[in-house]
Assembly symmetry: C2
Homo-oligomer: 249 residues x 2
DNA sequence: CGTATCCTTGAGTGTGATCAACATTGGTGG
DNA sequence: CCACCAATGTTGATCACACTCAAGGATACG
């Protein structure tokens, strides 16, 4: 009954549940589509109408100021869900844009809300999802607020590497990041020029390289060291609700 | 039931629900206590064991790096709940510390989880709560990543003013912020010295002042202008929409 | 009182922004 | 095939914002 008494398998079950649950939901109501790079999937300030699940490709969640300054809040990788919490409000405060060509499943908000009302398990799983997003956003805030430029960039690279591997990619594929330096800059809160200089510095240290317009992570261990990377915030695979109270379906 | 077809009253109901629901829950299982200023309520890295609801006073949610750099992730004001999403994991990645003397109700995690399993409505309401926290954290990230020091500080002051008023304080009380400049600095990602200089600049412009160790907001409308403050991210309730006190157009 | 905490200010330094120029690549159309 | 353009990356020069270090002042508290 103790929270910490969960087995690894139970944790894994929980981890996969939100995606699979939505997948089941989607089998009835999904609307699959593809999008081109740079295509806007959700407009800032628009009315929330659907939840998206990324099947393949990369996207970003961002906000912009009136004068054009942009902050990339989060990267969206295959398996990630976006727009879930916005559907309970009448305005989506952020935009979502494709970084690469991607495929996405979209589920109408009313189906999601219906499912939320129907399935206890779904509602609980979404709370777990909210927690894991919160952990990542907290860590990013720490990155932007209190780390140096080099720490920030190394830290981001390690996090993306981890997330890609967990989404099922083999290590070699997970070391390739299809993002531009302007994109990195808008995520880390620095100018594109400074992002380039910081990146060059990492290249000189042999930890990363640029190839075919993609970033390659050459030495993830060294990046971990440079970033002062703490694993725990991403290791929420150990989600720790006891299975009994959780599997109340 | 489409989200957009919700009436204002339904939204207002939703807004109040999470607090009142926990209040009911608390009536059976709550453990009220008080804490002194600077007292640690939740340790970084500790096992989540309870959810806190602030009754009075201010607290912060924060993370620290190994070398002592601290990032204040969020301010916790009366009515705010903290630790909710952490109970689904086996480690609380952040700490919580009182800024002022405060009173807090604490509810054992197992009661919250039991309620989560029992009440469909509670689980849904928490998703709404997750969304509103997400909106505030997104806006803060934008603040730290893409705004100038003066914009950041003015923006924070306006947000705190709004939140205090919505928590039920009259306008005059909501203009008093019991925080030190070091605290502001750790929230906005700047040094204490620079926070002081930025604050002095705001004082010179007549928008704020310092009195009895508390910050006074003298001209919220001017702060809104300086910050380029967009109302919408906090206006997820009809109550806020109808507030005319800031019609400084 | 003495100590601690917070605020304030100056001086010097450095990180990172801005402006500008140019290289490289890929795509488009003549 | 080439001219052109757009997007991205690279680098230098200059400057501003923000950091660190340092010292002093105000206030509260035991």
């Amino acid at each position: 009954m103790n929270v910490s008494s969960m087995t690894d398998r139970q944790r894994h079950t929980l981890r996969c549940r939100s995606a699979s649950h939505l997948h089941l939901l989607g089998s009835r109501t999904q609307h699959a589509r593809s999008a081109e790079a740079n295509e806007i999937l959700i407009n800032e300030g628009s009315m929330p109408s659907r939840v998206l699940v990324i099947d393949s490709g990369w996207a970003i969640r961002y906000k912009t100021l009136a004068d054009g300054r942009r902050q990339i809040l989060d990267f969206l990788l295959p398996g990630d869900m976006v727009g879930m919490f916005a559907i309970l409000f009448d305005q989506t405060e952020y935009g979502v844009q494709a970084l690469t060509p991607l495929t996405v499943r979209s589920i109408d908000a009313k189906h999601v809300i219906a499912e939320l009302n129907r399935s206890q398990q779904f509602a609980i799983t979404l709370n777990w999802l909210a927690g894991s997003v919160e952990q990542r956003m907290d860590e990013h805030l720490m990155r932007v607020g209190r780390r140096s430029a080099e720490e920030r960039m190394a830290h981001l690279f390690v996090e993306l590497h981890r997330r890609l591997k967990r989404s099922g990619l083999p290590d070699t594929a997970a070391r390739r990041l299809p993002i531009t330096q302007k994109t990195i800059a808008d995520h880390l809160g620095m100018s594109q020029v400074h992002a380039n200089r910081t990146f060059r510095s990492l290249v000189r240290q042999g930890t990363v390289s640029l190839s075919d317009g993609e970033i390659l992570l050459l030495d993830p261990c060294e990046l971990v060291r440079l970033a002062g990377f703490e694993e725990s915030y991403l290791c929420h695979t150990p989600a720790c609700v006891n299975e009994q109270s959780y599997s109340c379906a």
